[in-house]
Protein backbone atom coordinates (compact mmCIF):
# COMPACT_ATOMS: atom_id res chain seq x y z
CA UNK A 1 0.00 0.00 0.00
CA UNK A 2 2.99 2.23 0.36
CA UNK A 3 2.98 3.05 -3.29
CA UNK A 4 -0.50 4.49 -3.20
CA UNK A 5 0.06 6.41 0.04
CA UNK A 6 3.19 7.94 -1.29
CA UNK A 7 1.42 8.94 -4.44
CA UNK A 8 -1.41 10.53 -2.50
CA UNK A 9 0.74 12.60 -0.17
CA UNK A 10 3.51 13.68 -2.52
CA UNK A 11 3.56 12.76 -6.20
CA UNK A 12 6.74 10.93 -7.15
CA UNK A 13 6.83 12.84 -10.39
CA UNK A 14 7.86 16.45 -9.98
CA UNK A 15 6.36 18.77 -12.54
CA UNK A 16 8.87 20.14 -14.98
CA UNK A 17 6.83 22.43 -17.18
CA UNK A 18 5.45 23.87 -13.99
CA UNK A 19 2.20 25.03 -12.52
CA UNK A 20 -1.10 24.11 -14.03
CA UNK A 21 0.12 22.93 -17.40
CA UNK A 22 0.75 19.30 -16.48
CA UNK A 23 -1.15 16.61 -14.65
CA UNK A 24 -0.13 13.20 -13.31
CA UNK A 25 -1.97 10.23 -14.72
CA UNK A 26 -1.77 6.84 -13.10
CA UNK A 27 -1.71 3.79 -15.38
CA UNK A 28 -1.84 0.38 -13.78
CA UNK A 29 -1.02 -1.80 -11.91
CA UNK A 30 -4.33 -3.30 -13.02
CA UNK A 31 -4.30 -2.24 -16.64
CA UNK A 32 -4.80 -4.75 -19.44
CA UNK A 33 -2.01 -3.51 -21.65
CA UNK A 34 0.73 -3.44 -19.03
CA UNK A 35 1.02 -7.25 -19.30
CA UNK A 36 0.94 -7.88 -15.60
CA UNK A 37 1.30 -5.46 -12.75
CA UNK A 38 3.36 -2.63 -14.14
CA UNK A 39 2.37 0.75 -12.76
CA UNK A 40 3.26 3.77 -14.83
CA UNK A 41 3.13 7.31 -13.56
CA UNK A 42 2.67 9.60 -16.51
CA UNK A 43 3.08 13.32 -16.29
CA UNK A 44 1.19 14.70 -19.25
CA UNK A 45 0.80 18.07 -20.87
CA UNK A 46 -2.37 17.66 -22.85
CA UNK A 47 -1.76 14.59 -24.98
CA UNK A 48 2.03 14.79 -24.72
CA UNK A 49 4.03 12.92 -22.14
CA UNK A 50 6.47 15.05 -20.22
CA UNK A 51 7.75 12.32 -17.99
CA UNK A 52 7.17 8.65 -17.42
CA UNK A 53 8.14 6.74 -14.30
CA UNK A 54 7.63 3.01 -13.85
CA UNK A 55 6.71 1.78 -10.39
CA UNK A 56 7.58 -1.89 -10.01
CA UNK A 57 7.81 -4.44 -7.20
CA UNK A 58 4.22 -5.64 -7.05
CA UNK A 59 5.30 -9.18 -7.95
CA UNK A 60 8.48 -9.22 -5.88
CA UNK A 61 8.63 -12.58 -4.14
CA UNK A 62 12.27 -12.67 -3.07
CA UNK A 63 13.29 -15.59 -5.26
CA UNK A 64 16.98 -14.67 -4.95
CA UNK A 65 16.73 -14.98 -1.17
CA UNK A 66 14.72 -18.19 -1.36
CA UNK A 67 17.39 -19.79 -3.57
CA UNK A 68 19.94 -19.41 -0.79
CA UNK A 69 17.89 -21.74 1.42
CA UNK A 70 17.43 -24.47 -1.20
CA UNK A 71 19.60 -27.26 -2.55
CA UNK A 72 21.01 -26.68 -6.01
CA UNK A 73 18.50 -29.00 -7.64
CA UNK A 74 15.60 -27.40 -5.76
CA UNK A 75 16.28 -24.04 -7.37
CA UNK A 76 15.24 -25.29 -10.83
CA UNK A 77 11.46 -25.05 -10.18
CA UNK A 78 11.95 -21.54 -8.79
CA UNK A 79 13.55 -20.38 -12.02
CA UNK A 80 10.40 -21.22 -14.00
CA UNK A 81 8.47 -18.70 -12.02
CA UNK A 82 10.69 -15.77 -12.87
CA UNK A 83 9.92 -15.35 -16.53
CA UNK A 84 6.79 -17.42 -16.80
CA UNK A 85 6.53 -17.05 -20.56
CA UNK A 86 9.84 -18.79 -21.22
CA UNK A 87 10.33 -21.29 -18.37
CA UNK A 88 12.75 -23.50 -20.31
CA UNK A 89 15.10 -20.61 -21.01
CA UNK A 90 15.34 -19.92 -17.30
CA UNK A 91 15.90 -23.59 -16.48
CA UNK A 92 18.53 -23.65 -19.21
CA UNK A 93 20.44 -20.66 -17.89
CA UNK A 94 20.47 -21.92 -14.34
CA UNK A 95 21.56 -25.47 -15.14
CA UNK A 96 24.26 -24.16 -17.48
CA UNK A 97 25.59 -21.98 -14.67
CA UNK A 98 25.67 -24.84 -12.17
CA UNK A 99 27.23 -27.18 -14.73
CA UNK A 100 29.92 -24.58 -15.30
CA UNK A 101 30.55 -24.48 -11.55
CA UNK A 102 30.76 -28.27 -11.42
CA UNK A 103 32.72 -28.68 -14.63
CA UNK A 104 30.08 -31.09 -15.87
CA UNK A 105 29.46 -31.94 -19.49
CA UNK A 106 26.07 -33.17 -20.69
CA UNK A 107 25.63 -36.00 -23.22
CA UNK A 108 24.88 -34.98 -26.83
CA UNK A 109 21.28 -36.13 -26.80
CA UNK A 110 20.51 -33.99 -23.76
CA UNK A 111 22.26 -31.04 -25.41
CA UNK A 112 20.13 -31.27 -28.56
CA UNK A 113 16.91 -31.78 -26.61
CA UNK A 114 17.72 -28.65 -24.64
CA UNK A 115 18.45 -26.59 -27.74
CA UNK A 116 15.29 -27.83 -29.41
CA UNK A 117 13.05 -27.03 -26.47
CA UNK A 118 14.77 -23.74 -25.79
CA UNK A 119 14.02 -22.55 -29.30
CA UNK A 120 10.48 -23.87 -29.01
CA UNK A 121 10.15 -21.78 -25.86
CA UNK A 122 11.31 -18.74 -27.79
CA UNK A 123 8.57 -19.33 -30.35
CA UNK A 124 6.03 -19.80 -27.58
CA UNK A 125 7.08 -16.57 -25.89
CA UNK A 126 7.16 -14.56 -29.11
CA UNK A 127 3.66 -15.81 -29.94
CA UNK A 128 2.33 -14.42 -26.67
CA UNK A 129 4.17 -11.18 -27.37
CA UNK A 130 2.81 -10.92 -30.91
CA UNK A 131 -0.74 -11.72 -29.89
CA UNK A 132 -0.95 -9.35 -26.96
CA UNK A 133 1.05 -6.59 -28.63
CA UNK A 134 -1.24 -6.68 -31.66
CA UNK A 135 -4.30 -6.75 -29.44
CA UNK A 136 -3.06 -3.72 -27.49
CA UNK A 137 -2.83 -1.80 -30.74
CA UNK A 138 -6.21 -3.05 -31.89
CA UNK A 139 -5.73 -6.17 -34.01
CA UNK A 140 -7.78 -8.83 -32.27
CA UNK A 141 -7.50 -11.58 -34.91
CA UNK A 142 -3.76 -12.07 -34.55
CA UNK A 143 -4.16 -12.88 -30.89
CA UNK A 144 -6.48 -15.79 -31.61
CA UNK A 145 -4.22 -17.20 -34.31
CA UNK A 146 -1.12 -16.92 -32.13
CA UNK A 147 -2.73 -18.65 -29.20
CA UNK A 148 -3.85 -21.48 -31.49
CA UNK A 149 -0.21 -22.29 -32.25
CA UNK A 150 0.92 -21.61 -28.72
CA UNK A 151 -1.53 -24.22 -27.48
CA UNK A 152 0.21 -26.79 -29.67
CA UNK A 153 3.57 -25.89 -28.14
CA UNK A 154 2.17 -26.07 -24.63
CA UNK A 155 0.81 -29.53 -25.46
CA UNK A 156 4.34 -30.57 -26.42
CA UNK A 157 5.69 -29.15 -23.17
CA UNK A 158 3.11 -31.21 -21.35
CA UNK A 159 4.27 -34.28 -23.21
CA UNK A 160 7.90 -33.89 -22.17
CA UNK A 161 7.53 -32.41 -18.71
CA UNK A 162 4.00 -33.19 -17.55
CA UNK A 163 3.37 -29.47 -17.16
CA UNK A 164 2.18 -26.90 -19.63
CA UNK A 165 3.88 -23.83 -18.24
CA UNK A 166 6.06 -24.42 -15.17
CA UNK A 167 8.01 -27.16 -16.88
CA UNK A 168 11.17 -27.63 -14.73
CA UNK A 169 12.28 -30.14 -17.34
CA UNK A 170 16.01 -29.44 -17.40
CA UNK A 171 18.23 -30.88 -14.70
CA UNK A 172 21.80 -30.25 -13.70
CA UNK A 173 23.56 -32.80 -15.91
CA UNK A 174 20.87 -33.27 -18.55
CA UNK A 175 17.10 -33.38 -18.68
CA UNK A 176 14.72 -35.11 -16.29
CA UNK A 177 13.71 -37.92 -18.66
CA UNK A 178 13.91 -38.89 -22.30
CA UNK A 179 11.42 -37.59 -24.86
CA UNK A 180 8.16 -39.57 -24.80
CA UNK A 181 7.07 -41.78 -27.69
CA UNK A 182 5.36 -39.85 -30.43
CA UNK A 183 6.80 -36.49 -29.38
CA UNK A 184 9.16 -36.15 -32.32
CA UNK A 185 6.40 -36.95 -34.82
CA UNK A 186 4.18 -34.33 -33.23
CA UNK A 187 7.00 -31.80 -33.30
CA UNK A 188 7.92 -32.61 -36.92
CA UNK A 189 4.32 -32.09 -37.93
CA UNK A 190 4.28 -28.74 -36.09
CA UNK A 191 7.58 -27.65 -37.61
CA UNK A 192 6.14 -28.55 -41.00
CA UNK A 193 3.16 -26.24 -40.94
CA UNK A 194 4.38 -23.50 -38.58
CA UNK A 195 6.45 -21.50 -41.15
CA UNK A 196 3.27 -21.00 -43.20
CA UNK A 197 1.49 -19.79 -40.08
CA UNK A 198 4.19 -17.15 -39.50
CA UNK A 199 3.42 -15.82 -42.96
CA UNK A 200 -0.25 -15.71 -41.99
CA UNK A 201 0.50 -13.45 -39.03
CA UNK A 202 2.76 -11.41 -41.23
CA UNK A 203 0.03 -11.03 -43.86
CA UNK A 204 -2.32 -9.73 -41.22
CA UNK A 205 0.08 -7.09 -39.94
CA UNK A 206 3.18 -6.19 -41.94
CA UNK A 207 1.45 -4.33 -44.79
CA UNK A 208 -1.62 -3.39 -42.84
CA UNK A 209 -1.88 0.43 -43.01
CA UNK A 210 -3.38 0.70 -39.52
CA UNK A 211 -0.57 -1.42 -38.06
CA UNK A 212 2.20 0.48 -39.85
CA UNK A 213 0.58 3.76 -38.90
CA UNK A 214 0.61 2.81 -35.24
CA UNK A 215 4.14 1.39 -35.24
CA UNK A 216 6.38 3.07 -37.81
CA UNK A 217 8.40 5.95 -36.40
CA UNK A 218 6.87 5.41 -32.95
CA UNK A 219 8.89 5.11 -29.72
CA UNK A 220 12.32 5.38 -31.28
CA UNK A 221 15.53 4.28 -29.54
CA UNK A 222 18.91 5.25 -30.94
CA UNK A 223 21.86 2.85 -31.05
CA UNK A 224 23.77 4.91 -28.49
CA UNK A 225 20.81 4.93 -26.10
CA UNK A 226 20.43 1.18 -26.48
CA UNK A 227 23.92 0.51 -25.06
CA UNK A 228 23.71 3.34 -22.52
CA UNK A 229 20.46 1.96 -21.15
CA UNK A 230 21.77 -1.63 -21.08
CA UNK A 231 19.11 -2.84 -23.50
CA UNK A 232 19.54 -6.31 -24.96
CA UNK A 233 17.74 -8.75 -27.19
CA UNK A 234 15.29 -7.80 -29.96
CA UNK A 235 14.82 -4.39 -28.34
CA UNK A 236 18.50 -3.55 -28.89
CA UNK A 237 18.73 -5.33 -32.24
CA UNK A 238 15.85 -3.22 -33.50
CA UNK A 239 18.07 -0.20 -32.81
CA UNK A 240 21.07 -1.49 -34.73
CA UNK A 241 22.98 -3.25 -31.97
CA UNK A 242 24.34 -6.31 -33.73
CA UNK A 243 24.66 -8.58 -30.72
CA UNK A 244 23.21 -11.97 -30.02
CA UNK A 245 24.68 -14.17 -27.31
CA UNK A 246 23.73 -17.31 -29.23
CA UNK A 247 26.03 -16.28 -32.04
CA UNK A 248 28.64 -14.15 -30.27
CA UNK A 249 29.18 -16.09 -27.04
CA UNK A 250 27.76 -19.52 -27.86
CA UNK A 251 26.63 -21.69 -24.98
CA UNK A 252 25.09 -25.12 -24.67
CA UNK A 253 25.72 -26.12 -28.29
CA UNK A 254 24.53 -23.08 -30.25
CA UNK A 255 27.83 -22.99 -32.11
CA UNK A 256 26.65 -26.06 -34.02
CA UNK A 257 23.44 -24.48 -35.31
CA UNK A 258 23.12 -22.31 -38.38
CA UNK A 259 21.03 -19.19 -38.05
CA UNK A 260 20.97 -15.52 -38.93
CA UNK A 261 20.67 -12.70 -36.45
CA UNK A 262 18.24 -10.10 -37.78
CA UNK A 263 19.21 -6.48 -37.14
CA UNK A 264 17.28 -3.35 -38.03
CA UNK A 265 18.42 0.23 -37.67
CA UNK A 266 15.16 2.18 -37.48
CA UNK A 267 14.78 1.67 -33.73
CA UNK A 268 11.00 2.05 -33.77
CA UNK A 269 8.19 -0.29 -32.74
CA UNK A 270 7.91 -1.61 -36.29
CA UNK A 271 11.62 -2.53 -36.41
CA UNK A 272 11.29 -4.51 -33.20
CA UNK A 273 8.24 -6.24 -34.65
CA UNK A 274 10.14 -7.19 -37.82
CA UNK A 275 13.06 -8.52 -35.75
CA UNK A 276 10.87 -10.78 -33.65
CA UNK A 277 9.00 -12.06 -36.69
CA UNK A 278 12.32 -12.98 -38.29
CA UNK A 279 13.40 -14.64 -35.03
CA UNK A 280 10.32 -16.84 -35.23
CA UNK A 281 11.46 -18.03 -38.66
CA UNK A 282 15.02 -18.60 -37.48
CA UNK A 283 13.86 -20.45 -34.36
CA UNK A 284 11.68 -22.90 -36.23
CA UNK A 285 14.58 -23.58 -38.60
CA UNK A 286 16.79 -24.24 -35.58
CA UNK A 287 14.18 -26.62 -34.17
CA UNK A 288 14.25 -28.49 -37.49
CA UNK A 289 18.05 -28.69 -37.41
CA UNK A 290 17.92 -30.04 -33.87
CA UNK A 291 15.37 -32.71 -34.84
CA UNK A 292 17.55 -33.78 -37.75
CA UNK A 293 20.68 -34.04 -35.66
CA UNK A 294 19.19 -35.53 -32.49
CA UNK A 295 21.37 -38.57 -31.66
CA UNK A 296 20.46 -41.61 -29.64
CA UNK A 297 22.00 -42.08 -26.22
CA UNK A 298 21.64 -41.18 -22.59
CA UNK A 299 19.95 -37.92 -21.52
CA UNK A 300 21.78 -37.56 -18.22
CA UNK A 301 25.48 -37.06 -17.58
CA UNK A 302 27.47 -39.89 -16.08
CA UNK A 303 28.00 -38.23 -12.70
CA UNK A 304 26.43 -40.44 -10.01
CA UNK A 305 27.09 -37.96 -7.22
CA UNK A 306 25.18 -35.18 -8.99
CA UNK A 307 22.59 -36.76 -11.27
CA UNK A 308 19.78 -38.91 -9.88
CA UNK A 309 20.11 -42.57 -10.99
CA UNK A 310 17.54 -44.34 -13.16
CA UNK A 311 14.72 -46.05 -11.29
CA UNK A 312 15.76 -49.42 -12.70
CA UNK A 313 19.30 -49.12 -11.40
CA UNK A 314 18.02 -48.06 -7.99
CA UNK A 315 16.16 -51.31 -7.65
CA UNK A 316 19.12 -53.49 -8.57
CA UNK A 317 22.26 -51.65 -7.47
CA UNK A 318 23.11 -50.73 -3.90
CA UNK A 319 25.43 -47.91 -5.02
CA UNK A 320 22.68 -46.21 -6.99
CA UNK A 321 20.28 -46.42 -4.09
CA UNK A 322 22.83 -44.78 -1.80
CA UNK A 323 23.53 -42.02 -4.29
CA UNK A 324 19.82 -41.40 -4.75
CA UNK A 325 19.28 -41.17 -1.00
CA UNK A 326 22.25 -38.85 -0.56
CA UNK A 327 21.27 -36.48 -3.39
CA UNK A 328 17.66 -36.22 -2.26
CA UNK A 329 18.37 -35.76 1.45
CA UNK A 330 21.65 -33.84 1.47
CA UNK A 331 21.88 -32.42 -2.03
CA UNK A 332 25.13 -32.46 -3.96
CA UNK A 333 28.05 -30.25 -3.12
CA UNK A 334 29.49 -27.84 -5.63
CA UNK A 335 33.14 -26.73 -5.57
CA UNK A 336 33.77 -23.22 -4.37
CA UNK A 337 33.68 -20.49 -6.98
CA UNK A 338 31.45 -18.16 -8.91
CA UNK A 339 30.15 -18.05 -12.46
CA UNK A 340 28.01 -15.83 -14.59
CA UNK A 341 26.08 -17.48 -17.37
CA UNK A 342 24.28 -15.29 -19.84
CA UNK A 343 21.91 -16.65 -22.45
CA UNK A 344 19.80 -15.00 -25.11
CA UNK A 345 16.26 -15.25 -23.80
CA UNK A 346 13.33 -14.12 -25.98
CA UNK A 347 13.60 -10.73 -24.27
CA UNK A 348 17.35 -10.26 -24.15
CA UNK A 349 20.24 -11.28 -21.98
CA UNK A 350 19.07 -13.57 -19.20
CA UNK A 351 22.00 -14.00 -16.83
CA UNK A 352 22.50 -16.08 -13.72
CA UNK A 353 25.27 -15.22 -11.31
CA UNK A 354 25.80 -18.21 -9.01
CA UNK A 355 28.30 -18.20 -6.17
CA UNK A 356 29.16 -21.39 -4.35
CA UNK A 357 30.83 -21.76 -0.97
CA UNK A 358 31.41 -25.49 -1.35
CA UNK A 359 28.17 -26.63 0.32
CA UNK A 360 25.00 -28.13 -1.16
CA UNK A 361 23.17 -24.81 -1.23
CA UNK A 362 24.09 -21.84 -3.40
CA UNK A 363 25.64 -18.96 -1.47
CA UNK A 364 24.12 -16.41 -3.79
CA UNK A 365 22.00 -16.60 -6.92
CA UNK A 366 21.39 -13.42 -8.84
CA UNK A 367 19.21 -13.21 -11.90
CA UNK A 368 19.97 -10.54 -14.43
CA UNK A 369 16.59 -10.32 -16.02
CA UNK A 370 16.20 -8.74 -19.45
CA UNK A 371 12.83 -7.12 -18.77
CA UNK A 372 14.21 -5.28 -15.73
CA UNK A 373 16.87 -3.63 -17.88
CA UNK A 374 14.64 -3.12 -20.90
CA UNK A 375 12.18 -1.08 -18.82
CA UNK A 376 14.91 1.57 -18.83
CA UNK A 377 13.90 2.35 -22.39
CA UNK A 378 10.49 3.75 -21.37
CA UNK A 379 11.89 7.23 -20.86
CA UNK A 380 13.49 7.67 -24.27
CA UNK A 381 10.61 5.89 -26.00
CA UNK A 382 7.72 7.80 -24.51
CA UNK A 383 8.80 11.23 -23.34
CA UNK A 384 7.69 14.05 -25.67
CA UNK A 385 5.51 11.57 -27.53
CA UNK A 386 1.80 10.97 -27.49
CA UNK A 387 -0.05 9.29 -24.66
CA UNK A 388 -1.70 6.81 -27.02
CA UNK A 389 1.69 5.42 -28.03
CA UNK A 390 2.62 4.33 -24.50
CA UNK A 391 0.75 1.09 -25.03
CA UNK A 392 2.60 0.40 -28.27
CA UNK A 393 5.94 1.22 -26.63
CA UNK A 394 5.38 -1.02 -23.60
CA UNK A 395 4.27 -3.87 -25.84
CA UNK A 396 7.25 -3.49 -28.14
CA UNK A 397 9.84 -4.12 -25.40
CA UNK A 398 7.92 -7.23 -24.34
CA UNK A 399 8.12 -6.90 -20.56
CA UNK A 400 7.18 -9.77 -18.30
CA UNK A 401 6.56 -8.50 -14.82
CA UNK A 402 7.56 -11.73 -13.13
CA UNK A 403 10.90 -11.23 -14.80
CA UNK A 404 11.13 -7.61 -13.66
CA UNK A 405 10.26 -8.16 -10.01
CA UNK A 406 11.58 -11.68 -9.40
Amino acid sequence: MAHIDQFRSAPVVETTTGGDRTMVLNMGPQHPSTHGVLRLLLEIDGETIVRIRPDIGFLHTGIEKTCEAKFYQQVVPLTDRIDYLCPMTNNFTYVLAVEKLLGLEVPPRAMWIRLMLNELTRICSHLVWLGTHAMDIGAMTVFLYCFREREEILKMFEMVAGQRMMTSYFRVGGVSMDLPLGFLDYLKNFAGYFPARIEQYSDLLTDNPIWTGRTKGVAKITTQDATDLMLTGPTARGSGVDWDLRRDMPYGGYEQLEFKVPVATEGDVFARYIIRMEELRQSISMVKQAIARLPEGPVKADAPKVVLPDREKMKTQMESLIHHFKIVTEGFTVPEGEVYQGVESPRGEMGYYVKSDGTAKPYRVHMRSPSFANLNALGVMCEHNLLADVVAAVGSIDVVLGDVDR
Partner: protein, 165 residues
Protein backbone atom coordinates in the same frame (compact mmCIF):
# COMPACT_ATOMS: atom_id res chain seq x y z
CA UNK B 1 35.82 -31.46 -18.63
CA UNK B 2 37.38 -31.49 -15.18
CA UNK B 3 37.85 -28.16 -13.47
CA UNK B 4 41.21 -26.50 -13.86
CA UNK B 5 42.69 -24.71 -10.86
CA UNK B 6 42.08 -20.98 -10.74
CA UNK B 7 44.92 -18.71 -11.79
CA UNK B 8 45.48 -15.83 -9.41
CA UNK B 9 49.11 -15.05 -10.16
CA UNK B 10 49.27 -11.53 -11.60
CA UNK B 11 52.40 -12.39 -13.58
CA UNK B 12 50.47 -15.00 -15.57
CA UNK B 13 47.47 -12.74 -16.10
CA UNK B 14 49.17 -9.49 -17.03
CA UNK B 15 48.98 -10.29 -20.74
CA UNK B 16 45.19 -10.21 -20.64
CA UNK B 17 43.97 -7.05 -22.35
CA UNK B 18 41.80 -5.85 -19.47
CA UNK B 19 44.50 -6.46 -16.86
CA UNK B 20 47.20 -4.78 -18.96
CA UNK B 21 44.95 -1.80 -19.62
CA UNK B 22 44.24 -1.21 -15.93
CA UNK B 23 47.87 -1.75 -14.87
CA UNK B 24 49.06 0.80 -17.41
CA UNK B 25 46.24 3.33 -17.18
CA UNK B 26 45.39 3.39 -13.48
CA UNK B 27 48.30 2.16 -11.36
CA UNK B 28 47.13 0.97 -7.97
CA UNK B 29 43.50 0.48 -8.93
CA UNK B 30 43.79 -3.22 -9.65
CA UNK B 31 44.06 -5.11 -6.37
CA UNK B 32 43.98 -8.66 -7.69
CA UNK B 33 42.84 -10.72 -10.64
CA UNK B 34 41.56 -14.24 -11.03
CA UNK B 35 40.95 -16.53 -13.98
CA UNK B 36 38.61 -19.33 -13.06
CA UNK B 37 36.25 -21.50 -15.14
CA UNK B 38 37.08 -19.45 -18.23
CA UNK B 39 35.96 -16.22 -16.58
CA UNK B 40 38.27 -13.33 -15.77
CA UNK B 41 37.62 -11.42 -12.56
CA UNK B 42 39.30 -8.13 -11.72
CA UNK B 43 39.19 -6.85 -8.16
CA UNK B 44 39.34 -3.08 -8.18
CA UNK B 45 39.81 -0.51 -5.45
CA UNK B 46 36.58 1.07 -4.14
CA UNK B 47 37.76 4.65 -4.65
CA UNK B 48 38.78 4.23 -8.27
CA UNK B 49 35.97 2.02 -9.56
CA UNK B 50 34.28 4.59 -11.79
CA UNK B 51 37.61 5.66 -13.26
CA UNK B 52 38.53 2.03 -13.87
CA UNK B 53 35.25 1.26 -15.60
CA UNK B 54 35.53 4.44 -17.66
CA UNK B 55 38.99 3.40 -18.76
CA UNK B 56 37.83 -0.12 -19.66
CA UNK B 57 34.92 1.32 -21.61
CA UNK B 58 36.76 4.02 -23.52
CA UNK B 59 40.17 2.45 -24.13
CA UNK B 60 40.57 1.36 -27.75
CA UNK B 61 42.25 -1.85 -26.64
CA UNK B 62 39.59 -3.07 -24.24
CA UNK B 63 36.35 -1.59 -25.67
CA UNK B 64 34.11 -2.92 -22.93
CA UNK B 65 31.28 -0.81 -24.24
CA UNK B 66 28.37 -2.65 -22.63
CA UNK B 67 27.51 -3.17 -19.00
CA UNK B 68 25.50 -6.37 -18.69
CA UNK B 69 24.81 -6.60 -15.01
CA UNK B 70 25.40 -5.06 -11.61
CA UNK B 71 24.93 -7.18 -8.54
CA UNK B 72 26.26 -7.64 -5.04
CA UNK B 73 27.21 -10.33 -2.55
CA UNK B 74 27.16 -10.25 1.24
CA UNK B 75 30.12 -12.10 2.74
CA UNK B 76 28.94 -11.67 6.35
CA UNK B 77 30.69 -11.91 8.81
CA UNK B 78 33.89 -11.37 6.80
CA UNK B 79 35.34 -7.92 6.34
CA UNK B 80 35.22 -6.24 3.81
CA UNK B 81 31.68 -7.50 4.00
CA UNK B 82 30.17 -6.64 0.61
CA UNK B 83 31.18 -7.03 -2.98
CA UNK B 84 29.59 -5.12 -5.83
CA UNK B 85 30.04 -6.98 -9.08
CA UNK B 86 29.92 -5.50 -12.57
CA UNK B 87 29.72 -7.68 -15.65
CA UNK B 88 31.18 -5.97 -18.72
CA UNK B 89 30.95 -7.05 -22.34
CA UNK B 90 32.97 -5.93 -25.30
CA UNK B 91 30.74 -6.27 -28.36
CA UNK B 92 33.67 -5.71 -30.70
CA UNK B 93 35.98 -8.28 -29.10
CA UNK B 94 33.27 -10.68 -27.86
CA UNK B 95 34.68 -10.87 -24.39
CA UNK B 96 33.11 -10.73 -20.97
CA UNK B 97 34.85 -9.81 -17.72
CA UNK B 98 33.75 -9.37 -14.16
CA UNK B 99 34.87 -6.40 -12.09
CA UNK B 100 34.49 -6.64 -8.33
CA UNK B 101 34.70 -3.98 -5.66
CA UNK B 102 35.15 -5.01 -2.03
CA UNK B 103 33.22 -2.71 0.32
CA UNK B 104 33.39 -2.33 4.08
CA UNK B 105 30.34 -3.42 6.07
CA UNK B 106 30.61 -0.48 8.49
CA UNK B 107 29.79 2.20 5.96
CA UNK B 108 28.82 0.49 2.70
CA UNK B 109 28.93 2.92 -0.19
CA UNK B 110 30.36 3.07 -3.67
CA UNK B 111 30.34 5.62 -6.45
CA UNK B 112 27.45 5.21 -8.88
CA UNK B 113 28.22 4.24 -12.47
CA UNK B 114 25.12 5.94 -13.85
CA UNK B 115 27.22 8.69 -15.48
CA UNK B 116 28.79 5.95 -17.63
CA UNK B 117 25.72 3.79 -18.25
CA UNK B 118 22.40 5.39 -17.42
CA UNK B 119 20.82 1.95 -17.48
CA UNK B 120 22.65 0.95 -14.30
CA UNK B 121 20.20 3.09 -12.33
CA UNK B 122 17.56 0.41 -11.52
CA UNK B 123 20.28 -2.17 -10.85
CA UNK B 124 21.89 0.12 -8.29
CA UNK B 125 18.54 0.93 -6.77
CA UNK B 126 17.89 -2.79 -6.42
CA UNK B 127 21.20 -3.28 -4.60
CA UNK B 128 20.44 -0.31 -2.35
CA UNK B 129 17.02 -1.76 -1.65
CA UNK B 130 17.92 -5.40 -1.03
CA UNK B 131 21.54 -5.19 0.16
CA UNK B 132 21.73 -1.72 1.71
CA UNK B 133 24.71 -0.38 -0.21
CA UNK B 134 24.52 3.33 -0.99
CA UNK B 135 25.49 4.64 -4.40
CA UNK B 136 26.94 8.12 -4.31
CA UNK B 137 25.78 10.57 -6.97
CA UNK B 138 22.94 8.31 -8.01
CA UNK B 139 20.18 10.52 -9.47
CA UNK B 140 17.26 8.80 -7.75
CA UNK B 141 18.29 6.44 -4.95
CA UNK B 142 15.04 5.01 -3.57
CA UNK B 143 13.76 1.54 -2.80
CA UNK B 144 12.60 -0.16 -5.96
CA UNK B 145 11.21 -3.63 -5.19
CA UNK B 146 10.33 -3.52 -1.50
CA UNK B 147 7.71 -1.14 -0.05
CA UNK B 148 9.12 2.25 0.91
CA UNK B 149 8.61 1.84 4.66
CA UNK B 150 10.29 -1.59 4.76
CA UNK B 151 12.88 -2.07 7.47
CA UNK B 152 16.11 -3.89 6.74
CA UNK B 153 17.65 -5.23 3.56
CA UNK B 154 16.40 -8.73 2.75
CA UNK B 155 19.37 -10.07 0.80
CA UNK B 156 21.81 -9.52 3.65
CA UNK B 157 22.97 -12.75 5.23
CA UNK B 158 21.96 -11.63 8.74
CA UNK B 159 18.39 -11.10 7.56
CA UNK B 160 16.33 -14.26 8.24
CA UNK B 161 14.68 -15.98 5.29
CA UNK B 162 11.25 -15.66 6.94
CA UNK B 163 11.80 -11.97 7.65
CA UNK B 164 11.82 -10.36 11.08
CA UNK B 165 8.88 -11.51 13.17
Amino acid sequence: MPLEPAITDMELLKDRVAVACLLAGLPGALLAAKFDRNELTLIVDQVQIVEALRLLRDSTETQFNALADVTSVDLYPAEPRFEVIYSLISYARRERIRVKVPISGLDPYVESVTPLWMGASPFEREIFDLMGIRFQNHPDLRRILMPDEWEGHPLRKDYPVEGYR
